[in-house]
C-alpha cells in the first residue's frame, strides 16, 4: 500500500479522499491554492503544499505544480478526485514518468475512453447499444448535416474532448444546423483546444442512468449497480438516486453485465462509470465513460457498504478487489442532493459569499459530505458545491421523506449566499419525481412553470 498520497483537489472531495487515507493509515498531503489555504482538508492533512493562486489554471489544473508538490512531499501516489485533472491522459502520463501512481485508470485507457468519439467507436465494438450518429468525428459541416438528416432531428453536436455538459449543442431543425456546428467547434477549441465534434441523435425526454464499476489490475471487474441522474440543471446533476426507480432489476442487472464486459475489454482499472440514456420505451444507449470517482459515489457506498475510495487505493496499489460480484449486495434506496451556492430563480447563477451560519443535518442514515463550516468563503473560482446530503432507507418512499427532512433541517446563512435547498425540496415533492416519471427535462419543466 502507498505510504503517502497527495490529494490534488479541493472542497468536499479532498476531505473525502483524506478521510479514507486516514482510515487506512496512509499519510496525506493536500495540494491547495491560496484560496483554500484555510480549508478543512488542509487543516486535517498531515502536510499541505500551496501550489498556486486561486485560478485553477495555475493550481489545480497545473500538472507541473502538482507533480512538483508530490515529489517535494515524498508522495508515492496522487489522487485527482473528480474534475480538474482527473481525466487528463497527459497528467496520467506525467505522473507515471515521475514515478507517481495516479489513482485512476492507466493513461491509455483514459485517452481511449475520455475522447467521446473514440469511446463511442469502442462502445460499438464492445457491443454496447449506442444512439444513431456519425462514425467518429465529423470531417466538416456538410458531412455532419448529412448524418443529422440520416438519424433525424433533434440531434446533438458534441465536442469529442468535451465534458461537464459543455461544448454540446442540441439542434432541433436542419436550418439551424450549420450555425450550431460552427459555434460548437469554436466552443470546443476555446474550452478544450480541440475542434473535433461529432453528431448523435438527441433524446428530448430521456432518463440518465449510469453504472458504477470497479476493476483491478488482475482482470477482475465488478459492477455496483446503477444510479439515476436525470435531475439536472444546465446538464449538471442535482439529485442522484440508486437503484434507478421504476427500472426493472433485470434491466439494471443486464446493463451491469454489459458494462462489466465492456470495461474488461477496455482494460479498465480503478473506479469508473459508464453513462447511458434510456428512451421512453426503456431502451438503453451508451453515452460516455467517466474515468474517475463520481460526485455521486456516496449513494453507491450507502447501498453496497463498500468504500469506493478504499477500493480505488487498493487496486491502484496493485491489490486485487476486495469483493467479487457475488459479494456485492445492493440493499435499500439511497438519494443524494447537491446543495449549491446558487440562485435557482436566476438560472442557477452561482452566488459566492461568506457562509456565516452552517448547521448540517444529522441523524439516522443521513450522510453529509462538505468542506464548509461557519465562516467559510465560497469563491467564484470554483464549483459552487457546498455540501452533498445523502440518505438511505429501506424503500424509496422512506428515502424521499428522509431526504426532505434532512434538507429541511439544513441551515445555511450568509450575506449574499443563496442555495438551492428550497428548489431541491420542490423537486423531491414534484409528482413526476415522486412517481419516477421524470426525465432530464424535469428542471426545465419546473422553471418554465412559475412558482405559485
Amino acid at each position: 500500500m502507498f505510504t503517502t498520497v497527495l490529494v490534488a483537489n479541493r472542497g468536499e472531495i479532498a476531505l473525502r479522499v483524506l478521510r479514507t487515507c486516514r482510515e487506512m493509515g496512509i499519510r496525506t498531503v493536500v495540494a491547495h491554492s491560496t484560496a483554500d489555504r484555510d480549508s478543512p482538508a488542509v487543516r486535517l492533512a498531515d502536510e499541505s503544499i500551496q501550489i498556486g493562486p486561486a485560478a485553477p489554471r495555475r493550481s489545480y489544473l497545473n500538472p507541473a505544480a502538482i507533480v512538483t508538490a508530490a515529489l517535494q512531499a515524498g508522495a508515492d501516489a496522487v489522487h485527482p478526485g473528480y474534475g480538474f485533472l482527473s481525466e487528463s491522459p497527459e497528467f496520467a502520463e506525467i505522473c507515471q514518468a515521475h514515478g507517481l501512481t495516479l489513482i485512476g485508470p492507466p493513461a491509455g485507457v483514459i485517452a481511449r475512453l475520455g475522447d467521446k468519439a473514440r469511446a463511442r467507436e469502442f462502445a460499438v465494438r464492445a457491443g454496447l447499444p449506442v444512439l444513431p450518429g456519425g462514425q467518429g468525428p465529423a470531417s466538416g459541416a456538410a458531412e455532419a448535416a448529412r448524418t443529422a438528416d440520416a438519424v433525424g432531428y433533434p440531434v446533438v453536436i458534441k465536442a469529442t474532448a468535451g465534458g461537464g455538459g459543455r461544448a454540446m449543442t442540441v439542434v432541433h431543425e436542419p436550418g439551424a444546423f450549420t450555425r450550431a456546428f460552427d459555434a460548437t467547434r469554436r466552443e470546443a477549441v476555446a474550452l478544450f483546444g480541440d475542434p473535433r465534434v461529432y453528431v448523435e441523435k438527441y433524446l428530448d425526454a430521456a432518463r440518465h442512468v449510469e453504472v458504477q464499476i470497479l476493476a483491478d489490475s488482475h482482470g477482475n471487474v465488478v459492477h455496483l449497480g446503477a444510479r439515476d441522474c436525470s435531475v439536472q440543471r444546465r446538464r449538471q446533476k442535482l439529485i442522484e438516486e440508486t437503484p434507478p426507480p421504476n427500472l426493472p432489476s433485470a434491466t439494471i442487472e443486464h446493463l451491469g453485465e454489459l458494462t462489466v464486459r465492456a470495461a474488461r475489454m477496455a482494460g479498465y482499472v480503478g473506479a469508473g462509470t459508464f453513462e447511458y440514456v434510456l428512451d421512453e420505451r426503456g431502451a438503453c444507449h451508451f453515452i460516455e465513460v467517466n474515468c474517475r470517482l463520481q460526485v455521486e459515489h456516496p449513494i453507491t457506498e450507502m447501498v453496497t457498504g463498500i468504500d469506493l475510495v478504499r477500493e480505488q487505493l487498493r487496486v491502484a496499489a496493485g491489490q486485487p478487489l476486495g469483493y467479487g460480484q457475488r459479494d456485492i449486495v445492493c440493499s435499500g434506496v439511497s438519494i443524494e442532493c447537491r446543495v449549491n451556492a446558487e440562485d435557482p430563480a436566476r438560472g442557477f447563477l452561482p452566488t459566492p459569499g461568506v457562509i456565516e451560519e452552517f448547521v448540517p443535518p444529522g441523524g439516522p442514515f443521513t450522510r453529509v459530505d462538505t468542506h464548509v463550516a461557519g465562516d467559510t468563503r465560497i469563491t467564484a473560482d470554483y464549483d459552487p458545491l457546498i455540501a452533498k446530503v445523502s440518505v438511505w432507507a429501506p424503500d424509496r418512499a422512506q428515502a424521499l421523506a428522509r431526504a426532505h427532512r434532512a434538507l429541511e433541517e439544513f441551515t445555511i446563512r450568509g450575506a449574499g449566499v443563496c442555495t438551492d435547498l428550497a428548489f431541491l425540496r420542490e423537486v423531491l415533492a414534484h409528482p413526476l419525481f415522486r412517481y419516477a416519471k421524470h426525465t432530464t427535462s424535469l428542471v426545465d419543466q419546473m422553471m418554465s412553470t412559475p412558482l405559485s
Binding site: T34, I49, Q50, I51, P53, A54, A64, A65, T68
Partner: protein
C-alpha cells in the same frame, strides 16, 4: 507580492493601502503583524499575526542590517519577492557559481534574483520592482511553496 501581472494603477493603490494601514493593523493583534496578504480582483485580504513566542522563519518587520542609508522609507515598506510557483529555490545559476544577489545589492525591476526548479525546468525569479536586498528569506536549494517569501527588498526609487 507575486509576479502575477496586474494593472499598475490597481497595484499602486493596493500597495498604498497596505503602507497606510500596516501600523494600525499591527496594533490590532496581540502579537506583531506577520503577514498581510492582499489579492485583488476578488479582493481577499488576509492579515496574519505572529504566533506568540520566539519568532520562526517569518520575515522580520524590520531589516536586520541598516546598511541601506539612501532614502530609507521605513520598515513598513519592506517588499517580499515570493515564489511564483512551487519548486526548489536556487540562489545561483549553477552549483558553485556566485548568487544572483546578496544582501545590500540594489536590484532593478525585472532583474533575475533566483531560480525555481520544477520538474527539471529552471524558472527565473525576477524582482517585481527596484529595491535593495535587505534579507535572504529562503535558503539555497530548499523546497518552496507558491507565494512563499524568498527575499526581502527595501524599495529604492532614487538614483
Amino acid at each position: 507580492m507575486t509576479l502575477e501581472p496586474e494593472p499598475a494603477g490597481e497595484r499602486e493603490q493596493v500597495l498604498d493601502w497596505v503602507v497606510r494601514h500596516a501600523a494600525r493593523l499591527g496594533d490590532a493583534g496581540s502579537a506583531p503583524l506577520r503577514r498581510i496578504t492582499v489579492s485583488t480582483a476578488t479582493v481577499a485580504i488576509g492579515v496574519e499575526w505572529s504566533p506568540p513566542g520566539p519568532p520562526g522563519a517569518a520575515p522580520p518587520p524590520t531589516p536586520e542590517r541598516a546598511d541601506d542609508t539612501a532614502a530609507d522609507p521605513g520598515p513598513d515598506t519592506t517588499l517580499l519577492v515570493t515564489a511564483p510557483m512551487v519548486g526548489t529555490f536556487y540562489r545561483a545559476q549553477e552549483p558553485g557559481a556566485a548568487p544572483f544577489v546578496e544582501i545590500g545589492d540594489l536590484v532593478e525591476a525585472g532583474q533575475q534574483v533566483g531560480i525555481i526548479e520544477a520538474m527539471k525546468l529552471m524558472n527565473a525569479v525576477q524582482a517585481d520592482r527596484r529595491g535593495r536586498v535587505s534579507r535572504i528569506v529562503a535558503a539555497d536549494g530548499t523546497p518552496v511553496q507558491y507565494d512563499e517569501p524568498l527575499l526581502a527588498l527595501l524599495p529604492h526609487d532614487g538614483h
